[in-house]
Amino acid sequence: MEKVLEVKDLKISFKTFFGEVEAVRGISFTVGKKETVAVVGESGCGKSVTASGIMQLLPMPPAFFKGGEIIFNGENLLKKSEKQMQAIRGNKISMVFQDPMTSLNPTMKIGKQIVEGLVKHHKMSREAAENKAIEMLKLVSVPQPEKRVNQYPHEFSGGMRQRVMIALAMVCNPQLLIADEPTTALDVTVQAQILELMKKLQDQMDMSIILITHDLGIVADMSDRVVVMYAGQIVEVGLTDEIFANTKHPYTRKLLASVPRLDMSKDEPLYSIDGTPPDLYIPPKGCSFYDRCSEAMKICKDHVPELDEHSATHQSRCWLNHAMAFKGNSRAGGEK
């Protein structure tokens, strides 16, 4: 498959008063053309930092790139100047943020916000821009677009605002859309509408999507491939079916087990992962999941496992993959 984006050994840290927080610690993944890659993990695992890092939207300082490359269409984005980045941001790569309530400018009419990027990137006339804004609102199924372009964000409901955000991101036909928890703030029925809309637009525009979420139901619904992150590292990556049906990493297995399913008996206790993710001021020396893993072994404490291949598309980072690991309870998954 043609690669649109390739992240190679990306490391992002934040300098703080108390020291350095290693938020992203060497992650590599690719996004193919028209592909949807889901990035899942708990809060603080580095998934949003990765997304903002690709767009170079992180405040620097305190953030800085410690290493790695972000290759987009064969060019390393980290070597670009701010001016060159501006030509890419919003044009070739766009982003939809989590909170539609705060990510629109409350003092600007919706129509003007939608075409802002277009006017900047393509030097469009005002009239043409307004028509384009109406066309975009139609595309994302906002009713009465002619009236709506001249309204302000507070006149829109949450779901409608998120549609506007998507229209705003799509206006320049980006090759890559980064959606950072696009439906977390929305109700399930509205969430379903937005996800359907994203699928439809992806088909129409041949776009790739990086979908950041913690909802495994959305992952199952939307993604072709899944990247599972924990404490700033990728612990497992694979096709969606591989991740759900042939889970290899204990963290992924536990994450799947801790979501209540509609077909689950109520007498079954809900599986919970004890403890909390490690502090990234002092990242653990060995496997970052060691403290919370029920299958941890001696080696896990001090040695970081490599990313092992299970198939051409499926990799995981766990010592249990090692040929010498004790396989007795490696599929226990549940009880501790």
């Binding site: 708990e42 809060s43 009713p143 409901s157 949450g158 779901g159 409608m160 109700d187 399930v188 029925t189 509205v190 969430q191 379903a192 509408q193 996800l195 359907e196 913690h214 909802d215 495994l216 139901g217 959305i218 992952v219 199952a220 619904d221 969606t240 079916d241 759900f244 049906a245 536990k254 994450l255 799947l256 801790s258 979501v259 209540p260 399913r261 509609l262 689950m264 109520k266 206790p269 809900l270 599986y271 919970s272 992962i273 004890d274 909390t276």
Partner: protein, 317 residues
């Protein structure tokens, strides 16, 4: 048949706003039995949190009765209410906003004890606090810490310990887990279940995560724009939903299994929840309903028992 612990009858809560009346809760009735978990689901703005708060009388109701121990507690005076109130507690949604950042955990947990003067000596107070913290999986070492030193899951545990301080019978859990991560949600839900078994608690569990509500609740009510649309035992509701809104709501939950999810047919609802300010007569769901007829626009459907223990408010079933 066991007596209900509380019976809500035609509870209404209106707010006066510019442009009319916001009918947040508009006549809901239900019973909650001892030691059960009653789930309340619905989209944001449907009035589920207002319902929870009105039931414990944090909001003064506009109309209705709430029978507890044979008495209508909405008729009680402030003083009498304080005695009853120790039986009712609430766990709030946002563990970051519901704990006072300038109070230590000890003072936060002991606040209900202070208010109700439930101890004689300082030792008794701190013993009770430690006992409560242990009950929710925290310990003595946390007593003198401040809320900012805790993670979201731990804060929610502090909130639960505070709710348990006066040995209440009934706890309203208002979206207690929606601000938490998936792995932490499971910890808190398991804790709530264990406490229920241990202490014989009755819960009203308000949430919009339908799969979690199914898991924790014995019976579930579905609300839409201030009205109760459907109420049934949770297994029954999730396998045989009757109301078109419940059906749409259930079909919108993405299932974490790619094989099932890809082949599912969704019932798409058009549009958003309409405004609860001055709602029209008739079924509240009519504008988004696929099987709406003329009568739905004219008359509000009555909430009736269609099957055994399965209540629905819809003209077309």
């Amino acid at each position: 048949m066991t007596e209900p612990l509380i019976s809500a009858r035609n509870i209404k809560k209106y707010f006066d706003v510019a442009g009319g009346q916001l009918k947040a809760v508009d006549g809901i009735s239900f019973d909650i039995y001892p030691q059960e978990t009653f789930g309340l689901v619905g989209e944001s703005g449907c009035g589920k949190s207002t319902a929870g708060r009105t039931i414990v009388r944090l909001y003064e109701p506009t109309d209705g009765e709430l029978i507890f121990n044979g008495k209508n507690i909405y008729k009680l005076s402030r003083k009498e209410m304080q005695d009853v109130r120790r039986n009712f507690q609430i766990v709030f949604q946002d563990p970051y906003a519901s704990l006072n950042p300038r109070m230590t955990v000890e003072d936060i947990v002991a606040e209900p004890l202070d208010v109700h003067q439930a101890y004689k000596t300082r030792e008794e107070r701190s013993e009770r606090v430690i006992e409560l913290l242990r009950l929710v999986g925290l310990g003595e070492e946390h007593v003198l810490r401040f809320p900012h030193e805790f993670s979201g899951g731990q804060r929610q545990r502090v909130g639960i310990a505070r709710a348990l301080a006066l040995n209440p019978k009934f706890i309203v859990c208002d979206e207690p887990i929606s601000a938490l991560d998936v792995s932490i949600q499971a910890q808190v839900v398991n804790l709530l279940k264990n406490l229920q078994d241990k202490l014989g608690l009755t819960y009203m569990f308000i949430a919009h995560d339908l799969s979690m509500v199914r898991y924790i609740s014995d019976r579930v009510g579905v609300m839409y724009l201030g009205h109760m649309m459907e109420l049934a035992e949770s297994a029954e509701l999730y396998s045989n939903p009757i109301h078109p809104y419940t059906k749409a709501l259930l079909s919108a939950i993405p299932i974490p299994n790619p094989e099932i999810q890809r082949n599912r047919k969704r019932i798409m609802l058009e549009g958003d929840v309409p405004s609860p300010i001055n709602p029209k007569e008739g079924c509240r769901f009519v504008d988004r309903c696929s099987c709406a007829t003329d009568i739905c626009r004219k008359e509000t459907p009555v909430f009736v028992e269609k099957k055994e223990k399965h209540f629905v408010a819809c003209h077309n079933v």
